[in-house]
């Protein structure tokens, strides 16, 4: 079992507000790591610190380090563009671009210089298959991505992220805008993806964390309260706060 991401005393603040404090956590390769916790606990900030998306907002200050395959991604000379290529992200609300299904998946490869149509065709088909969307859209990949259902759109976004060949996939509450059936599809997809990729998923849905993840971290007020095997965290929490949250006493 190899280590893919390690955060060391990671703190992120937006202006005066400290969103996460002193988080040290390890993400193992080809495992699904879930981050749970009540709203505003910093779980979203945490996951966005793993591909430096926080700095897009502007005023984020990050302290501590995030090691990806042993290298600190917050080092001055670390190339943030190559980082985001290696660490893909799925957002809370499906955000397909207003282009065709094909062009959505081909967007990343094109950005990175792939021009030949035969190569792109192959990438598009392959990744739509990986995202279990191919069978539903193979006859209309030239149609607008916005005509797809919410669940299909989210799987399209997954295919789009996979198309640039990442190592890690971050998912920020990927099912919060979806119905139960679409959620079930995404969840089984997550399990499948972990064979090839490392997945970190933020979720407010504890059953979901229990169903899809190997490891779970519980965040509260910006701090990592507990981290361990999902089974242990849910069945045998060490911290009374975790137990309270899991049993639904607050949230």
């Amino acid at each position: 079992m190899s280590l893919r991401i390690e955060t060391r005393s990671l703190s992120v603040s937006f202006g005066e507000v400290q969103a996460i404090k002193d988080v040290s956590l390890q993400v193992l390769a080809n495992k699904v790591t879930a981050i749970i916790g009540p709203s505003g606990c910093g779980k979203s900030t945490f996951i966005k610190s793993l591909n430096r998306m926080n700095e897009i907002v502007g005023k984020a200050t990050t302290n501590g380090s995030v090691l990806l395959d042993g290298k600190n991604i917050y080092d001055k000379d670390y190339d943030v563009v190559s980082l985001r290529r290696k660490v893909g992200m799925i957002f809370q609300k499906p955000n397909p671009f207003p282009k065709s299904i094909y062009d959505n998946v081909a967007y990343g490869p094109r950005i990175h210089g792939t021009r030949e149509k035969t190569v792109l065709d192959k990438i598009v088909e392959e990744n739509l298959k990986k995202a279990t969307l191919w069978d539903e859209v193979s006859d209309r990949i030239a149609a607008s991505a916005l005509d797809l259902s919410g669940g299909q759109q989210q799987r399209l976004c997954i295919a789009r992220a996979l198309a640039v060949d990442p190592e890690v996939i971050l998912m920020d509450e990927p099912c919060s805008a979806l119905d139960p059936l679409a959620t079930a599809k995404i969840e089984s997809l997550i399990r499948k993806l972990s064979e090839e990729y490392t997945v970190v998923i933020v979720t407010h849905n504890m059953q979901q964390a229990a169903r899809v993840s190997d490891y779970t971290g519980f965040f509260y007020l910006g701090k990592l309260v507990e981290f361990g095997f999902t089974k242990d965290v849910f069945e045998n929490p060490k911290n009374p706060l975790t137990e309270k949250y899991i049993t639904g006493e607050f949230g």
Partner: protein, 284 residues
């Protein structure tokens, strides 16, 4: 009748009348120019040079002059304005400096056009030695329409959802790739609307070119940007106030005004059409 309802009725009718007055004035104004101007407009009027001390002939040099001035103005204002807006929206970190720049741009839009005229005269005509020329006039007017172009581009860029940018950046695209491939294409129709309005503004401006580019009379079409030119707006002004026989040339004044009015209103109409089509097509 209930007092409240009566009050409401009175207010609504008042508003209705005020609106009607505004519309009536607009129609009356356009009507006046159409009524008084349509008679002199024929093929000769549009294609001939002014003759017999500008009491006869046409306004061809003024039409061409206005086209040249407008095109040259946009040639300066578009690249600079669009680039500035892209910088302000996509690159500059929000803060005091960007706030200051934005309010400077808003203030620039509020400066009277005659001030631009004087400034352009001092800087471009005299100091830079461009003389009374299309180039000097276009540079002056580009300063005037720059805030319009920047504001329109800014609004159009801001109307593109953040998620388009995040989605693209998360795939490892650079900021510029994201702007070029996933923001600008969706901002373009909105930008176009604002740009057309800026063109209409440039076509109609008078004060900035009186001091920098416009000739009272010129029988020929300018062949170089360093030459001055007649223009529709200034022609109207000169014919209405400076011509030795104002009464005699009144029909020509009205005719010229109608030509300019049609040009500017057509541009506005195009802007409206672009906007409605884009709103209908926009699906995000």
């Amino acid at each position: 009748m209930n007092l409240k309802l009566l009050k409401q009725k009175i207010y609504f009718n008042f508003f209705r009348i005020v609106t009607a007055v505004v519309v009536a004035f607009l129609i009356y104004m356009i009507g006046t120019f159409v009524y008084n101007g349509i008679g002199v407009i024929d093929w000769t009027f549009l294609t001939d040079i002014p003759r017999r001390g500008m009491t006869e002939g046409g306004i061809f040099p003024a039409i061409v002059g206005t086209l040249y001035l407008t095109l040259a103005t946009m040639a300066f204002a578009l690249p600079i304005g669009i680039a500035a807006a892209i910088y302000l929206v996509e690159y500059a970190k929000e803060g005091r400096i960007v706030g200051a720049i934005n309010s400077a741009i808003i203030n620039l839009a509020g400066i009277p056009s005659v001030i631009f005229g004087l400034f352009g005269f001092g800087l471009f005509v005299v100091f830079m030695g461009l003389g009374t020329s299309i180039l000097a006039g276009a540079l002056t007017m580009s300063l005037l329409v720059l805030p319009i172009v920047i504001a329109a581009t800014r609004e159009a860029l801001l109307s593109v959802p953040k998620s388009f940018r995040e989605g693209s950046l998360a795939l490892g695209a650079t900021k510029w790739q994201t702007t070029r491939n996933n923001v600008l294409p969706y901002a373009l129709p909105g930008m176009l609307t604002g740009i057309i309005l800026a063109v209409a503004r440039a076509a109609g401006e008078t004060a900035p070119i009186i001091t920098t580019a416009a000739f009272f009379f010129s029988p020929s079409i300018p062949t170089s940007p360093l030459q001055g030119t007649m223009a529709l707006s200034t022609h109207i002004y000169y014919m209405a106030t400076q011509h030795p026989n104002i009464g005699l040339v009144r029909p020509i004044t009205y005719g010229t005004a109608l030509v300019l009015l049609v040009m500017v209103l057509s541009l506005n109409l195009i802007a409206i059409i672009v906007r409605t089509r884009y709103r209908r097509r926009r699906n995000w």
